[in-house]
């Protein structure tokens, strides 16, 4: 178990594999598994969307 870096929600490590990208259950940010022992995640890189306004 660890915390989402964006919203501090609990993030389960159960059946996650290294490098896997998944959305945080609370804030929806795409997270990437950086390590399994200890379990660590980071926001997955994404292209910033230009809102155009």
């Amino acid at each position: 178990m660890t915390e989402c870096p964006v919203c501090a929600a609990d993030v389960e490590s159960k059946d996650k594999i290294a490098g896997e990208v998944f959305p945080c259950v609370d804030c929806g940010t795409e997270l990437e598994v950086r390590a399994l022992e200890p379990f660590a995640v980071e926001p997955a890189p994404k292209e910033a969307e230009d809102w155009g306004e």
Binding site: P5, V6, C7, A8, A9, D26, C27, G28, T29
Partner: protein, 341 residues
């Protein structure tokens, strides 16, 4: 459970009837409207056609019921509440007549003295997220204003968590036309109302008093009419010098609303709907909350979105009914909203 609806011909009355008709534990004994006596409910509320054989009865014919909803205009509830309470039933007032504890507000905001100020103390503010315990045994429940509900649910947890001196909030609200009811006068005519961005109350509105009463923070409120039928978005600019980081805000909101069935945190995920939006909440009892930290300007932006007829009125009334009757709070309030809409 036998219920009655007083003032059932308005938009709030109509939404309330729709929800009550779908509520498994409720039978609507009477719905009154002096303007439409004898007319079937479906003639005034087209979505309820064939859904009920109920017709409007005159207000004077009102019989006692387990719960009486007052969907009357402001000033229309206060005179009749004492007699309704005397009959032993519970009164859920959707008007503004019992929302404010301090009687001196009424002449200022509603241009008249309150006829029964002694009831103001007893009335319980109909926001289960903040007054659930008292609502379980309340005799008189005052359903909050729609803009007030969105701003209070957005502001209260952060207001309680922070301690900064001299904190203050600017609340800039946007709402749809159904918030002004059926008879919105010349300004409500489609040719004038459509496509509006209209600051109809730039520097004062009665809902500010409710927000201050519930959050303890001075609130400078401005209200705007925009192009929508349903929907309220309250943008709360909390100016507190040292705004919490977003991770902190997530924790504050999670702690405040973790178990709440109708408050959802919506912030920053990808896609179009990154912040709360009333459009997709039409017909639901949800209040979606979002936020953004703006340390460069000593500001935290808090966002609250809801359907002014849903969680902003009829939905909240039914939620309070469920709390008062000891039923699961989501009873009759399971609609998830439409998308696209």
């Amino acid at each position: 459970m036998k219920v009655a609806v007083v003032g059932g011909s308005g938009y709030v009355g109509g939404e309330l009837l729709r929800l009550l008709l779908g509520h498994p534990e409720v039978t609507i004994e009477q719905v009154t409207s002096d303007r439409h006596v004898g007319a079937p409910v479906g003639r005034v509320h087209p979505n309820l056609r064939k859904a009920t054989s109920l017709a409007f009865s005159p207000r004077a014919s009102l019989r006692a019921a387990d719960v009486t909803f007052l969907a009357t205009p402001h000033g229309g509830s206060a005179p009749i509440v004492p007699e309704l309470l005397a009959s032993g039933g519970v009164v859920i007032d959707l008007s503004a007549d019992h929302r404010l504890k301090d009687p001196s507000h009424y002449p200022r905001y509603y241009r008249q003295e309150h006829p029964h100020p002694e009831l103001l103390e007893e009335a319980v503010y109909g926001l289960p997220e903040r007054h659930r315990e008292r609502l379980r045994t309340a005799r008189l429940i005052a359903v909050p204003g729609c803009i007030a509900t969105a701003a209070i649910l957005a502001l209260a947890p952060v207001a309680a968590a922070g301690t900064g001196p001299g904190r203050r909030a600017v609340v800039d609200a946007k709402s749809g036309s159904s918030a002004s009811g059926r008879d919105a006068g010349p300004a409500g005519q489609h040719a004038e109302r459509s496509g509006a961005m209209r600051a109809y109350a730039p520097a004062g509105h009665r809902h500010a008093a409710e927000i201050e009463q519930e959050t303890g923070i001075g609130v400078a409120l401005s209200c705007h009419a925009v192009e929508a039928v349903r929907g309220v978005l309250a943008t709360v600019h909390l100016l507190d010098g040292d705004p919490p980081a977003e991770r902190e805000l997530w924790k504050i909101y999670r702690a405040a609303y973790a178990g709440e069935p109708f408050v959802r945190l919506v912030h920053g995920s990808d896609g179009i709907h990154r912040e709360p939006e009333p459009k997709i909440l039409a017909g639901t009892n949800f209040c979606d909350l979002g936020f953004a930290s703006d340390p460069a300007h000593g500001r935290t932006v808090l966002l609250g979105a809801l359907d002014n007829l849903g969680k902003g009125a009829a939905g909240a009334a039914v939620q309070c009914l469920n709390v008062r009757a000891g039923l699961p709070e989501t009873t009759g309030l399971g609609f998830l909203g439409l998308h696209p809409v």
